[in-house]
Amino acid sequence: MSIPVLRAQNISKAFQGVKALDGVELTLRTGEIHALMGENGAGKSTLIKVLTGVYTPDSGGIEFDGVAIAPGSTREAEAAGISTVYQEVNLIPTLSIADNILLGRQPRRFGCLRKGEMKRRAEAALARLGLKLDVGQPLNSCSMAVQQMVAIARALDIQAKVLILDEPTSSLDEREVEFLFGIMRKLRKDGMAILFVTHFLDQVYAVSDRITVLRNGKFVGDYQAAELPRLKLIGAMLGRNFEEMEHLREETAHAAPSRKVFLETHKLGRRGIINPIDLNIAAGEVVGLAGLLGSGRTETAKMLFGIDLPDQGEIQIEGEKVSIKSARQAVQHGLAFCSEDRKSEGLIPHLSVRENLILAMQASRGPLRLLPRKEQDALAAHYIRALNIKTPNAEAQISNLSGGNQQKVMLARWLAMQPKLIILDEPTRGIDVGAKAEIEKLVHSLKSQGMAVLFISSDMEEIVRTCQRVVVLRDRKKVGELSGEDIQVNRIMNVIAHHDE
């Protein structure tokens, strides 16, 4: 126990003069699960990329088993015994599971692949995780959770001593998270050092032995998990006291929504995608859609927004029956949809903050009536201030912003349209606690302005904090609806768990 296997000292790294890491330290010991915590922009991703050879540090050194190493590529880091599973599953969707697990280190004979041996090894790697899959099927035919497991199996196939898991749980439901934790504990017993990056505090305390906290690229501390109370951890991450969230909950409880129904659905459904569902959302109301992964939350949202067309039922807006056959029509009816997958369904990475922000507005004007530059600048300036978007200026390329700030730009894009109903699909996924609180606060203020909000999240506590009514989905079916005092995490869980009786 307790032998340092990896020690990074005084690591600094700057990008174009901006210090992403400044004298950071990290020590991993064999047989421990070590959480790396920090807000977005704290330097977690940069540190991981330094450890895995994607970036070369400007100063500082890494020792592995007492020997100084300087990995120049992922491959060299892997050869040294450091294996990584990244936040967004970084595998090749078009290749088979076996190919993905073994890419770059396939067993070969006379320069050719040994396909039988590959199948055997891939199955063995999955078996270590307790999975049995057809390893010949292409990866993109699997669910996100399975893809994540494949990524871990890939990391385990090399005889790594250090396993880095960068937000492995962000797309898993609770059962899958438990399963993953089981695997992590097993690996810890085998003497593996695991660096675990996550935003979920519960998960940190559930599995971690030690916690390293970073803030603004600087090292804050290395703590024993058992000796660090939550509030202190949050304080260390944010560098300030943290009472805003509790505050919010009280306000929410006191708000009495006026019931002026904006959107209503009757038996709206699509065969094989979502069972007929009744929903209604009033102006100035936040309605939550809760449920496990795959319960049909996003599918419902996409149906309302005209992306997946329903084949039964009807939608009424302000009492009148409407037909929404495309996202464009949905926008015309005053709907807005902030997608959960901001990377591939929302942001245009090469465009600037301003250009991303005005996209929806420009699209609704048509290609010929260009939004005057003055108005564009005014809009961008307004929302950067109003939403507290942290960007050097409005012309910065959006891909350089942190996840939370990208999310705010997405929100701003739709808010600029002044919608009557905004659908937020996992608006806080993969962003840090501070930005989360800001987005929750923002939802709250939208509601006060009389906007209807459909709020989708897998974070139950967030739903409890934010929503006045909660519609619970399970297995693509609406199984219950809670409101007022009934909105509590355990009640929601009960509805999800016990609808079979």
Binding site: V54, S73, T74, R75, E78, T84, Y86, N90, L91, I92, P93, T94, L95, D99, L103, G104, Q106, R108, G111, C112, L113, K115, S141, R154
Partner: protein
């Protein structure tokens, strides 16, 4: 309808007549699988034919040496384009477009006019044939194509290099994080493409016994069309060599059918290929969409 169309001889001729197309398509499949494109193959083919013709006719070189030199130049040329694409992160479309003009220009520098090749070796090549019974015989060009095709299958589907190409085309950022050697794979792919184009040029000198700096105008598009008809996705990551063979044979069959029926003009070939291409692309889209739905 066409008597004698499906005789063994027509089939072997199909391979012989389309050997240059087929050879270029084998390597183009690799390029497209890697997520790239190579527009320079037509010009490279033209350059190679005139280079070989001049070396053999005017410099008195043995054809095999001339071909070896041409293959070397093609490989280096392709590798250089691959280097530019990788090192400076340039779009393959533009780099190979530049390569296309460059190679065509070089062809005209060598000779402005076409040049016939009269050489004993070429006569032997023309007479060469492995009898397959009946009137059918496998000519030298068809044999080269089939050998390269077999090699292509092995490289594409049975080597780690092939997997790396698929990975690159499937998702380049992921491939990088998974430790795929991006640079060497890319450079190798374009080097192979240059080699394939030069080999296609050499084969086409066997077929026509001449070199011509204008040969191969639009050839690269025929090649790309054959590969896409064969089911390879232009975005990379999905496709097979067997599919490309089918694409080449479909392309060649339409060609032969039009040759067989003297009433039809060559522009009908273009119309047929254009229509087919559109149908196949729609078909592919339909297939990928249904498979996405059944998940």
């Amino acid at each position: 309808m066409y008597e004698g169309f499906f005789s063994g001889r027509v089939i072997t001729n199909l391979f012989a007549d389309n050997a240059a197309l087929g050879i270029a398509a084998v390597v183009m499949t690799l390029v497209i699988l890697s997520g790239g494109i190579d527009l320079s193959v037509g010009s490279m083919l033209g350059f190679t034919t005139i280079l070989i013709a001049v070396l053999v006719q005017q410099k008195g070189m043995h054809p095999l040496s001339a071909i070896a030199i041409a293959l070397g130049i093609g490989t280096v040329f392709g590798a250089f384009m691959g280097f530019l694409i990788h090192r400076y992160d340039l779009p393959p479309f533009l780099v190979t477009l530049g390569g296309m003009f460059l190679a065509r220009g070089m062809a005209f520098v060598i000779s402005k006019e076409s040049l016939g090749i009269e050489n004993a070796f070429y006569n032997h090549m023309a007479d060469f044939g492995i009898p397959l019974g009946g009137k059918a015989a496998l000519s030298a060009t068809a044999l080269i194509y089939l050998l390269l095709f077999a090699l292509g299958i092995v490289v594409t589907h049975f080597t780690p290099f092939g997997r790396n190409i698929y990975a690159l085309g499937g998702s380049e950022p992921s491939a990088r994080l998974m430790g795929v050697p991006i640079g060497s794979t890319k450079i190798a792919v374009y080097a192979l493409s240059g080699f394939g184009a030069a080999l296609a040029g050499a084969v086409s000198t066997f077929y026509t016994t001449s070199g011509n700096p204008t040969t191969g105008g639009g050839f690269e598009l025929d090649v790309i069309a054959s590969v896409v008809i064969g089911g390879t996705l232009l975005t990379g990551g999905v496709g097979t060599q067997l599919g490309t063979l089918a694409g080449v044979l479909i392309f060649g069959t339409i060609h032969s059918a039009l040759d067989f029926d003297g009433r039809l003009n060559s522009y009908w070939l273009r119309i047929a290929i254009g229509g087919l291409l559109l149908i196949f692309i729609l078909f592919q889209r339909f297939l990928t969409r249904t498979s996405a739905l059944t998940r």
